[in-house]
């Protein structure tokens, strides 16, 4: 099967300017996404994963994109002005967020809110638009779409609210859906349902999903490819199964090791010493070196390059390359 490239991000840099200092939140992030592919972006809080997603669709304010390109279907989104980016945002690229309650209008029925999104597309009106809302609610497996149309966000459970959000995002038949921690606020049983739903819809509509999460266990079920982020940089990238089975970067290794497992009990859980660094005091050299178990003297000086080590696999650490056959 030939892969068609949908999104190409190269050298994306997003900085926040506070007290006259320019802090790198997203630092030189590059990746490609194919049509219909699911890419997982994993990292701990504050590593810049949400900011990366927001930068793609021009919602990064008050931060500033100071460099790089986001090429979507041949157009560089970074260079577009406010008006022209709206042709993409919410239409060809849609986004869903973690807490649906904060993204929904509490005094407007769910149906009306989805209707707004449908009308925004500028194709349907009146009864046709309403029909489309019901279709969308059916698509997200809302149990009773007619009731759902009339209900208000506070009357719904978390899972149902997230379905409404997904329906809204799908209104424009997007080519790319950015899902920023869509299941984090939900119970495990509901989480499983939403993930399955997203997968099913993806198969039906053939859209690509950029799935952002801090939960490595979840990423296994959704994505073909994962990217691990640490301190504003992508430090490892590759096919999901291979990375989870044999991670190369010491951070990825440590992160996987400290996931609590349900099937075995450990007396002392492995953990990563220290804390996640904040953008105003990133360590020099490799940003992971103060917490790294294999760091050598040079690590605090030389910034490691993000290099391809084998087919479609990249790592930002010079000391792991030789271990790959």
């Amino acid at each position: 099967m030939k892969q068609i490239i949908l999104l190409q991000v190269s050298g994306l840099k997003t900085h926040i300017i506070t007290n006259g200092k320019s802090l790198p939140i997203v630092d030189d992030v590059s990746f490609d996404m194919n049509k219909g592919e699911t890419v997982g972006l994993v990292g701990e809080s504050g590593c810049g994963k949400s900011m990366t997603a927001l930068s793609l669709i021009g919602l990064q304010k008050p931060a500033k994109i100071i460099g790089g390109k986001v090429i979507f279907n041949g157009t560089d989104l970074v260079s577009l002005d406010k008006k022209s980016i709206r042709e993409y945002r919410g239409k060809k690229i849609a986004m869903i967020f973690q807490e649906p309650m904060t993204s929904l209008n509490p005094v407007m029925s769910c149906g009306k809110q989805i209707l707004e999104a449908v009308k925004m597309q500028g194709e349907l009106n009146g009864a046709h638009a309403k029909q489309r809302v019901i279709e969308l609610l059916n698509l997200v497996k809302y149990p009773d779409p007619k009731m759902g149309y009339k209900s208000y966000p506070h009357e719904l459970s978390g899972g149902m609210r997230q379905r409404v959000m997904i329906a809204m995002a799908l209104a424009g038949k997007p080519d790319l859906l950015i899902a920023d921690e869509p299941t984090t606020a939900l119970d495990v049983t509901v989480q499983a349902e939403i993930v399955n739903l997203l997968k099913k819809i993806q198969q039906q509509l053939g859209m690509a999903i950029l799935f952002i999460t801090h939960d490595i266990g979840l990423i296994k079920q959704v994505s073909d490819k994962i990217m691990v982020m640490y301190a504003g940089q992508i430090i490892e990238e590759g096919p999901t199964e291979i990375i989870l089975k044999s991670p190369l970067h010491p951070y990825t290794k440590a992160l996987l090791a400290c996931l609590p497992r349900i099937d075995e009990k450990m007396e002392i859980l492995p953990s990563i010493p220290g804390n996640v660094p904040t953008p105003d005091n990133y360590p020099s050299g490799c940003r992971f070196h103060p917490r790294c178990s294999i760091a050598v003297e040079g690590c605090s000086v030389d910034e490691p390059e993000f290099v391809e080590v084998s087919d479609s696999r990249k790592v930002r650490c010079p000391y792991v390359h030789h271990s790959v056959a």
């Binding site: 119970d187 049983t189 296994k220 609590p260 349900i262 859980l269 990563i272 010493p273 904040t278």
Partner: protein
């Protein structure tokens, strides 16, 4: 026996149907009986809305009990032990429980002053000792809460709870807001403190994998009632109640790939189903819309099955 909770009930007034009608009752906790031994960790799991946090709060009297008794050690008078500070509680978001305008050292010394734990001139020494206990540098006592990271703040929360030499700490989702790399540090710290000082924990969490790592016994709560309670390894390896089975299959299969599911309609504590609260979702009781009669009409009791294992289900 350190803590004994007998038939605890906590009802909240809900919505009124008419202006002068009695408000309906939301049965957040509906007859829970648990006990915790000295130096033991009891994990309390359940979906959101099952009443986990309310149970924790009811034990320390942060919400009023509607019925039932809580006895702690050999204290008979509840007022006396609830003021002794022997039971402490730690919450999910430590930033919300620390005063932003008070240095963390002061926040902890307040506890020492109130409970008169040490003489005044020794307070600072004790604060520093507590910081060392939770693996923080004692130089940090003059810093303000915002200067710490999430993991460090949770350590401060733990240090403050330790200040009064508690025998039981109720941990309400203490690691849920933390990153995995830091989460493991905090769990290790809690375990070490238990070994060193013999503290018992009531560990409330929605994350079964975390509970697995720390709890000696697990109690599963559904809609205000305990549906299963037993030793951790037994519950994990052979869950008996259909709800526990479903819960654990979702959690463990997230480690292997495919997922089996129960319906996600959680029972509403304001208007719980008759009989077993779980029967509308239950794969055993629900045979495509036809329910087994006993499940739909009679409350199941929590019966002992084998060696301390208790299950509330008619079909087992």
């Amino acid at each position: 026996m350190l803590l004994n909770v007998r038939d605890l009930k906590t009802y909240f007034p809900g919505r009124k149907q008419y202006l002068f009608s009695k408000p309906e009752q939301i049965k957040a906790i509906d007859g829970v009986t648990i006990s915790i031994e000295e130096g033991e960790t009891l994990g309390l799991v359940g979906e959101s809305g099952s009443g986990k946090s309310t149970l924790g709060k009811a034990i320390v009297n942060l919400v009023t009990k509607t019925g039932g008794t809580v006895t702690f050690k050999d204290f008979t008078d509840e007022k006396r032990w609830s003021n002794s500070g022997k039971i402490q509680m730690i919450f999910q978001d430590p930033l919300a429980s620390l005063n932003p305008r008070m240095t963390v050292g002061n926040a902890i010394s307040e506890v020492l002053k109130y409970h008169r734990i040490v003489p005044k001139y020794k307070i600072m020494l004790r604060v520093k000792a507590l910081f060392r206990m939770v693996e923080l540098s004692p130089d940090l006592i003059f810093n303000y809460p915002h200067q710490f990271s999430g993991g460090q703040r949770q350590r401060i929360g733990i240090a403050r709870a330790l200040a009064v030499n508690p025998e039981l700490i109720i941990c309400d989702e203490v690691v849920s807001a933390l990153d995995v790399s830091v989460q493991a540090q905090i769990i290790n710290l809690l375990k070490r403190l238990q070994v060193d000082q013999g503290i018992a924990y009531l560990f409330i969490s929605h994350d079964l994998a975390v509970v697995r790592q720390i709890a000696h016994r697990i109690a599963v709560l559904y809609c205000g009632r305990i549906v299963e309670i037993g030793r951790t390894d037994e519950i994990i390896s052979s869950p008996m109640h259909p709800y526990t089975q479903a819960l654990f299959s979702v959690a463990s299969e997230s480690n292997s790939g495919s997922m089996s599911m129960i319906s996600t309609e959680v029972a509403n504590p304001a208007n719980p189903p008759d009989g077993c609260h779980f029967h509308p979702r239950c794969p055993i009781a629900n045979n495509s819309g036809n329910f087994i009669e006993a499940c739909a009409s009679i409350d199941p009791d929590l019966n002992e099955k084998s060696g301390g294992r208790m299950v509330a289900c008619h079909q087992i």
